[in-house]
């Protein structure tokens, strides 16, 4: 089965690992009429079992790390991980806090990074496009 079929019906599961909510509200904003990512077939789903994309925000507080891992494992393959926001990328303003075990790529593999604190909604859409490109390239190389 081709990765391309997944590309245009991406269901996303959002997990907050200790963000300040700035990024989370921008992720919600991406669904609203002005940006409306449903036109790309993207839906926010309520269970990682239904997801193709994990949208991860936050610097990964210690208590959230096992959960992040579990959600990643619960998500059926093939899947894409997009980290939204500087604190998920590199800790942002919370860097080196004693209760952080992140950033996200220390816990699970990450496909696309979106810098910004928070990124504008369009930057998140751009990241999705990057994920498409990645899926297409992977398909060309015969990876499933």
């Amino acid at each position: 089965m081709s990765l391309n079929t997944i590309k245009r019906a991406l269901w996303a599961y959002h997990i907050n690992t200790g963000s300040c909510n700035g990024c989370d509200i921008e992720i919600l904003a991406v669904l609203t009429p002005r940006y409306d990512v449903e036109r790309f077939g993207i839906r926010l789903v309520g269970s990682p079992r239904h997801a193709d994309v994990l949208l991860v925000t936050g610097p990964v507080a210690r208590q959230m790390a096992p959960r992040l891992k579990r959600v990643y494992e619960q998500t059926p393959d093939p899947k894409v991980v997009i980290v939204v926001g500087s604190c998920g990328l590199e800790g942002g303003v919370f860097y080196e806090s004693y209760n952080l075990v992140g950033p996200v790529d220390q816990i699970i593999p990450v496909d696309v990074y979106v810098p910004g604190c928070p990124p504008r909604p369009e930057a998140i859409i751009e990241a999705v496009a990057k994920a498409w490109v990645k899926l297409e390239q992977a398909e060309k190389q015969g990876v499933t």
């Binding site: 009429p33 449903e38 079992r49």
Partner: protein, 338 residues
């Protein structure tokens, strides 16, 4: 009844082939209507929304994904449920007249059978929910059960009221669709009866979103309350089967409303006699009727309402809708006496 005169094996072949065609058509139109539904809902909400073919893409995507079976669940039951749900939804399609034609299995079952069959997909969902052994799915399953029992009653009242009225004008079994089509309810009743029939139609229109689990009656799957409810643990192919069954069920329910209340065909009216053009015209007319009913009872209601609580929903069905249905029944009865 034409079938029985043919040889047994030929009938079987015809039924099998017919069922397959119907299943494909049902799946196609079910998904198509879901796409239209999503597109229109999006436009009503001021956004572009997904392309109409999006449900097809979703299904294709789900089929390409890994199907995870949760640990601790009854795995065979967990996997059997989506399958049963889909098969029964398709089976329902063979008992209901679609595309302006007679039902494929008309001679083998009537409205009463349909009433029973309609329960099974919901039941499959419930059992699947319990089999996933997730607390969310369990709550979802309980809710689905309550909802199911609630809408079953007004649904039965509406169907029986119509059949009962028709039984007064003909000796043919009134629970068969061809009888309903032959004696459309609107033609049998006077002004009071029309009001009664409207009440019954209203009942059925409100039962439809419950049966197809759409807002405001999507309580069993309520995303914000219990995380996708019944389906939390389902993924990949199993989820695809439920998804498909769900769209077919919506198509079935709406076709049922059309068959009961708008069994008219266009071809006799505009005087097309030849078979092929008549089939085409009637099919298109049928699809239009389905669209209209769907627009009102699914799309408009779901975009214009908030989800009910389980107690409110069962109140609406058990008390309010049943009452309206009974009022319809009484009005039709009064109409006969007057």
């Amino acid at each position: 009844m034409d079938w029985s005169s043919n040889s047994y094996s030929l009938t079987t072949v015809a039924i099998v082939v017919g069922s397959i065609i119907l299943a494909l058509l049902g799946a196609f139109f079910g998904l198509l209507y879901r796409g239209i539904d999503r597109k229109l809902a999006a436009h009503m909400q001021g956004r572009i929304g997904p392309p109409i073919i999006q449900p097809f893409r979703d299904i294709r995507k789900l089929l390409a994904k890994e199907s995870i079976i949760p640990d601790g669940g009854l795995s065979w039951l967990f996997q059997a449920c989506p399958f049963i749900c889909l098969v029964v939804s398709i089976l329902l399609l063979t008992y209901i007249p679609v595309f302006g034609q007679r039902a494929l299995l008309e001679g083998y079952g009537d409205l009463v059978l349909i009433l029973y069959l309609l329960i099974i997909p919901s039941l499959a969902l419930v059992v699947g929910g319990f089999a996933s052994s997730s607390p969310f799915a369990t709550v979802g399953a309980q809710r689905e059960m309550v909802i199911m029992m609630s809408y079953e009653f007004p649904l039965a009242v509406a169907i029986i009221a119509i059949a009962w009225r028709i039984s007064h004008v003909t000796d043919i079994n009134p629970f068969i669709f061809s009888t309903v089509a032959q004696y459309p309810i609107w033609n049998q009743v006077g002004p009071v009866g029309v009001i009664g029939s409207l009440a019954l139609l209203f009942t059925l229109l409100v039962v439809t979103p419950g049966e197809v689990a759409k807002v405001p009656f999507d309580i069993a799957e309520a995303e914000t309350e219990i995380a996708g409810g019944l389906l939390v643990e389902y993924s990949g192919r199993n989820l695809a089967l439920f998804y498909l069954a769900d769209t077919i069920r919506a198509f079935v329910m709406v076709s049922l409303v059309v068959a009961l209340f708008f069994p008219y065909n266009l071809s006799p009216v505009i005087g097309i006699g030849a078979t092929a053009p008549a089939v085409i015209v009637d099919s298109l007319f049928f699809l239009l009727k389905v669209f209209l009913v769907m627009f009102i009872s699914v799309i408009l209601i779901r975009t214009a309402m908030a989800r009910f609580k389980i107690s409110q929903a069962s109140y609406i069905y058990i008390i309010a809708m049943t009452l309206i249905g009974l009022v319809g029944l009484i009005l039709i009865h009064v109409d006969m006496i007057v």
